[in-house]
Amino acid sequence: MPDRTDGRFDRVDALRGLPAGELAEARRTVRVLILTGLGLNCEAETEHAFRTAGASPDLVHLLDLLDGRAERKLSDFAVLAFVGGFAFGDHLGAGFVFANKIRWRLYDDLVGFIERGGLALGVCNGFQTMVRLGMLPGFDGDYRTPLATLAPNDRAGYRDAWVRLRFDPASPCVWTRGLEFMELPSRHGEGKFLAAGNDVLDRLRDGHQIAVRYVDAEGRATMRWPENPNGSPDAVAGICDPSGRLFGMMPHPDAYLYPFQHPHWFRRGCQTPVPDTLSGEGLRIFRNGVDAAAADS
């Protein structure tokens, strides 16, 4: 398997081998910018996720960032999080008006952030925003040209149900590294990943940028509803850029922060004694991102 990560995965492994105190300190230095406001609504759980992963998250209203009123600038952060929600109600299309604000008023800064090696995670509305902006798929260092979209689900309407996901082990994505399967809630009305052409989808596949797919009970990528909740071709649930640092996905890792949030948790035998682990699977994605940022710093 070609190493597309400039040895980044090795550096993460080295970081994770550090003594606990040093590791915690390295993670704490990772500043995460969580954009809020204008109809976004997953900021609290995203903040808790990054904090639990050891990082230092800041919630910043987009208007403050645009107007230069925020305490810190974009360049002060190592990670940028686009959270889920309904920015401007998703009127005119998911993530659309929000992305538009960024495109006209922040985009040079944002591309600078990416070019300096910043990490970004987009979940649901955040993923839609990243794709709309052209941050993803980000071929050839072009983070400005939209090459895909998140179209309305084949079965019209918003839907909230858990789905099964499989990660591509060969993906350069730093956020999904080491993950194989995960179940997460899918909560959207516009999640069908449509590329501008088959060549775009082929290139994404060949470059292992399709970091995560919807799969059936046997673990096979599926086009069947409801396992594939939106009819995404190639069962695309999320993609990364070629560097693996920018990643967006439709399902919500931020809604699986505790083990008892899984719909089957209360089926898993008599809960005596009460299991004492307090980490939900979704946290692994946040941990990966934070550690990758910490290893790079």
Partner: protein
């Protein structure tokens, strides 16, 4: 200047919205449409410079997904196009967002009245013009709020693009009138009726007398006012005194007659039974040496109970019935975003945690005659769901509970219950979070949306029956994004301590919010000329009463006002100073310098004459079913599982987000395939703590046909049992009461008013007794007392309906329990006593249909039966306490609540949820054995729980339950069959997968 932009999905790509519409046209209207495609139309009313419209088009079009054009998008022939647009003045949230996008794209300010108007164009293949018109009227558009244009392809192609916009025609502001009240009684009644004031003659006289006396006051004369009220004053009084705001019936003095006994006088149902029960429970808590956990009840916008050291829980449930009857989508979305403002306006502001919803509709498969002016119940259902789906999802609030209940007596008025739980910080900016007080000198600030003619007379309109005179402007459409942005801003302002009191603008608008807050300070002065309007030309009284949505009113100390307004600007949220709170004892309203109202606060809030009403209880007479009872109960069980009131509602419910905020634990649907509704849902209240809250409810209007006392007690018992089944404690279990009644005041239109009032009295007594017995105080509630429809000359009244919503607490959410059977060999127990209490049961209604009994409009479905389920709390409470212990010790693997559908449905739900079978012995207890097999299975006796226990816990469980009504009735099996035995023989042997199929089929395509 208007620029029209049309955007559609590119040919060759799926148009999911169009396909959805096509499927509904085929299945609901039976029209075989070939294809439907849709387009979004934006009419940009702004002075654009050359080249700008092309830039806007380029920005609005998604290059992967869309094709778009300026003017008309002609991407090939079609048969007919139907364009649905809003009427003038109707809220257009998409247009608002589009305007933001246009401004951002152009990077410049536009003229102040620039606007974007949106519409949707449906392009049909395979239907003619006439059919397309039917589709437009019966499916796509609601004439109350929308206009329709239908054009065949040729005509569409030949015509110029439609550049008209539904802007509100502005005119001069109407002058303030003085209303002459010197006429006869008939004249007074006429003024009330034509003005939609909903004031009675006694009230009109009180108003006349008050102003006549007040006209002598020198300060009133100095302001240029006389002995008659201005229209502003009269409207203000009428809405403050409306049933909606004042709860006159619940505060009336009632003489209650029952049989030959002495009539009893009840001074206020509310004080006697509702607040009475709560105060007694609270006093008992204190007497037991424990501290009160009721932080704030009955006097704020929602009830507040103690939860942990960081936050209190706030809970409120409302109804939005009348608006939802006229415009299901708009009425319902306004219902949910409206009730969101109640917790937000409680104390100094609670953050929202979760929503609940519940609807009572006529059957979506209704085939009877539809009185003119009523929408088909399927449309009502679709619209109401979509409204609350959009309102909740876009606000970022997950839902915790949802139910649907069907009876054709809801044809005239659907009931739309919407509720919200909030978290109020124990301490805000250094003082208790529940404390709020507008002080004299504090400024009156309105924030959020602007004022329009929407929702004028909503409070008085909802206090009357629904008939053809219902005002069009009573319909509002909520805009969740405007509200969400306002809430985000206000939470920041709250934590900075920038205001001293907050309340919402709901029914009655500013008149109500300022009027209420001014009670704390002792008066207020308000200049309506400062109020931000959506369009010019509103009369002062309209501005005062408008129920335009997404607005909160605050009291801001003068020294914090600059900071407050600066933060508002920074968040791009409108906030305006409209006046100041005073201690003059008057609500003084001006237009600039001109006084338009000068009302005594005391008269406004205390001047309403008390009602004196008579209630007469006569026990109704119904009969037992006549036909033979079925012998093969397996088929009956399948048929019952498929009943509209027992089947799965998952298909609609999945469209509601239940997980945003990341705090949801036990979700609304649980089990192996997460497809059976939970008995109670469990949430964390904040990240980083394992303490949770539990939501459940009880409702059974069918029992009202026999006795509302039993109905109310059963609703409490059901809600409490669901709490226990989810793992909640009986400690700190609070309930909310929501009454939706047919008019209980005797009149020409309501000759049986005394009986309906007696039903209300008995329901209150049932609540009172059951809540005290379980130590569950009522912490908030609401009543809606005019749920009658006279549309098309047909009177249809809802059955007396009481929703009991419970909120409980659980120390550690990991101890929660779900209803699904967990494993082969687990032992199944039945707690409680089963009696032949089949009156009002779903089983009897099934028998009635089986026997082909006719049903008359407005009457209960046959058969009602005679033996109504009762609650014996002295018997069940020790059982509940022991069960709570068993859950806390982890002995209970599943728990379900036999309610509608009885024991059979409780077993079926546990089996379906776990996809496991069970073998059940219907002779296991003497009470079961004494009943016919059908009654044993389908009787709806209260006080029962079905629980399963792992073999290793059986001994400990049975020790805890020793001496109580708890019987081992069977065992869980992994053979996929639910087998119910009587004397060793199977009276029912049904495959679990067959049950699941029956359960899901009924509403799958509705």
């Amino acid at each position: 200047m208007v620029t029209r932009i049309e955007i559609g999905t590119r040919r060759g790509l799926a148009d999911a919205r169009g396909e959805h519409v096509a499927a509904r046209i085929r299945s609901f209207l039976g029209i075989d449409v070939r294809a439907v495609r849709t387009r979004d139309v934006y009419r940009v009313a702004a002075a654009l410079r050359p080249g700008e419209s092309e830039r806007i088009l380029a920005e609005l079009v998604d290059p992967v997904l869309h094709a778009g054009a300026i003017g008309k998008l002609d991407d090939g022939p079609f048969d007919v196009a139907v364009t649905v647009a809003y009427r003038p003045g109707v809220t257009d949230p998409v247009g608002k967002s589009a305007l933001v996008a246009v401004r951002d794209t152009l990077g410049r300010a536009l003229e102040p009245d620039a606007a974007v108007y949106t519409s949707v164009m449906y392009v049909f293949d395979g239907v003619d013009r006439e059919r397309a018109e039917r589709v437009a009227v019966d499916l796509l558009a609601n004439p109350v709020i929308q206009t329709v244009a239908v054009e065949a392809y040729g005509a569409w192609r030949a015509s110029a693009p439609d550049l008209s916009v539904p802007s509100v025609a502005t005119h001069d502001r109407p002058a303030v009138r003085t209303v002459d009240l010197s006429g006869s009684d008939e004249a007074l009644i006429e003024i009330s009726r034509t003005g939609l004031l909903a004031l009675t003659l006694a009230e009109m006289r009180a108003v006349r007398d008050h102003f006549r006396a007040d006209g002598e006051a020198p300060e009133r004369r100095a302001l240029g006012l006389g002995g008659d009220p201005t229209d502003v004053e009269l409207e203000c009084v009428a809405q403050t005194w409306s049933e909606h705001c004042k709860h006159k019936i619940f505060n009336a003095t009632i003489t209650y007659h029952e049989g030959d006994g002495r009539p009893q006088r009840i001074e206020s149902l509310f004080k006697t039974y509702i607040r009475g029960a709560t105060e007694e429970i609270d006093a008992a808590t204190r007497a037991a040496g424990r501290s009160s956990w009721l932080v704030s009840v009955f006097h704020d916008n929602a009830g507040v109970v103690a939860f942990d050291d960081a936050v209190h829980l706030v809970y409120k449930v409302e109804t939005h019935n009348s608006p939802s009857a006229l415009d299901p989508y708009g009425g319902a979305i306004t219902g949910i975003v409206g009730v969101n403002r109640d917790p937000f306006g409680t104390g100094r502001g609670a953050a929202l945690l979760s929503n609940v919803w519940g609807y009572c509709f006529a059957s979506p498969f209704y085939r009877g005659e539809l009185p003119r002016g009523l929408l088909h119940p399927r449309r009502v259902r679709d619209g109401v769901h979509q409204g609350v789906i959009d309102g909740g999802n876009q606000s970022g609030v997950p839902y915790g509970r949802g139910f649907e209940l069907f009876d054709d007596r809801y044809l005239g008025k659907p009931l739309v219950f919407c509720g919200t739980v909030g978290a109020l910080p124990v301490t805000i900016a250094g003082t208790p979070g529940e404390r709020k007080r507008a002080r004299p000198g504090d400024l009156v600030v309105m924030t959020g949306g602007r004022i329009g003619a929407d929702g004028i007379h909503g409070a008085t309109f909802s206090s009357a029956a629904l008939d053809e005179s219902a005002p069009v402007q009573a319909v509002q459409i909520g805009d969740p994004i405007t509200q969400k942005r306002m809430f985000d801003f206000l939470l920041e302002a709250r934590d900075l301590g920038l205001y001293s009191a907050i309340t919402d603008n709901g029914a009655g608008g500013l008149s109500s919010s300022v009027g209420e807050m001014a009670r704390q300070s002792g008066g207020a002065r308000l200049d309506l000329s400062l109020a931000p309007l959506k369009y010019a030309g509103l009369a002062p009284w309209e501005i005062l009463l408008s129920e335009a949505q997404e607005r909160m009113t605050l009291a801001v100390p003068p020294e914090r006002i600059d900071e407050f307004l600066a933060l508002a600007r920074r968040r791009e949220v409108e906030a305006t100073v409209l006046g100041a709170f005073t201690d003059t004892g008057r609500l003084h309203v001006t237009w600039g310098d001109e006084t338009v109202a000068y009302v005594s606060m005391e008269f406004l809030h205390e001047g309403d004459p008390d009602l004196d009403l008579t209630a007469r209880w006569v026990a109704p007479a119904f009969e037992e079913p006549a036909g033979a009872r079925p012998r093969e109960l397996g088929e009956v069980l399948l048929a019952m599982t498929a009943r509209l009131n027992l089947c799965s509602g998952e298909r609609k419910a999945r469209h509601y987000d239940h997980e945003v905020k990341g705090l949801s634990v036990v979700k609304p649907f649980v089990g192996a395939f997460a497809d059976v509704p939970a008995e109670g849902t469990v949430f964390l209240a904040r990240h980083g703590s394992l303490r949770g809250y539990v939501l459940s409810e009880g409702i059974n209007p069918f029992l009202s046909d026999l006795d509302t006392y039993a109905m109310a007690a059963a609703a409490v018992d059901e809600a409490v049992r669901r709490q226990l089944c989810a793992g909640a404690s009986l400690e700190r279990l609070a309930v909310l009461d929501n009454f939706c009644w047919p008019d209980p005041v005797r009149s020409e239109r309501t000759p049986d008013g005394e009986y309906k009032l007696a039903q209300l009295v008995r329901a209150c007594r049932g609540l009172y007794d059951a809540c005290r017995a379980y130590g569950a105080p009522m912490v908030s509630g609401k009543d809606s007392m005019k749920n009658d429809s006279f549309m098309g000359g047909v009177k249809i009244s809802v059955p007396p309906t009481l929703l009991v919503s419970a909120i409980g607490q659980i120390d550690d959410v990991r101890r929660a329990v779900t209803l699904d059977f967990k494993g082969d060999g687990d032992v199944v127990y039945l707690l409680g006593t089963t009696r032949d209490e089949t009156g009002g049961s779903e089983y009897y209604r099934w028998l009635g249909e089986r026997d082909g009994r006719p049903r008359r409009t407005g009457e209960p479905a046959p058969y009602v039966g005679t033996r109504v389920p009762t609650v014996d709390a002295a018997w069940t409470l020790p059982l509940y306490r022991a069960f709570e212990h068993a859950v806390r010790h982890g002995f209970v693997r599943s728990a379900s609540t036999p309610a509608k559908g009885g024991l059979a449905l409780a077993l079926a739900r546990s089996a379906m949820a776990g996809r496991l079978g069970a073998e059940i012995d219907l002779d296991a207890s003497s009470d079961l054995a004494a009943l016919g097999a059908d009654a044993a299975l389908f009787s709806e006796s209260n006080g029962r729980i079905v629980a399963s226990v792992a073999p290793e816990s059986v001994e400990a469980f049975e020790r805890l339950m020793a001496g109580l009504a708890c019987v081992r009735v069977g065992v869980v099996r992994d053979d996929g069959r639910l087998v119910l035995r009587r004397s060793g023989d199977a009276v029912a042997d049904v495959g679990v997968e067959d049950l699941v199929r029956a359960y899901k089929e009924t509403l799958e395509h509705a």
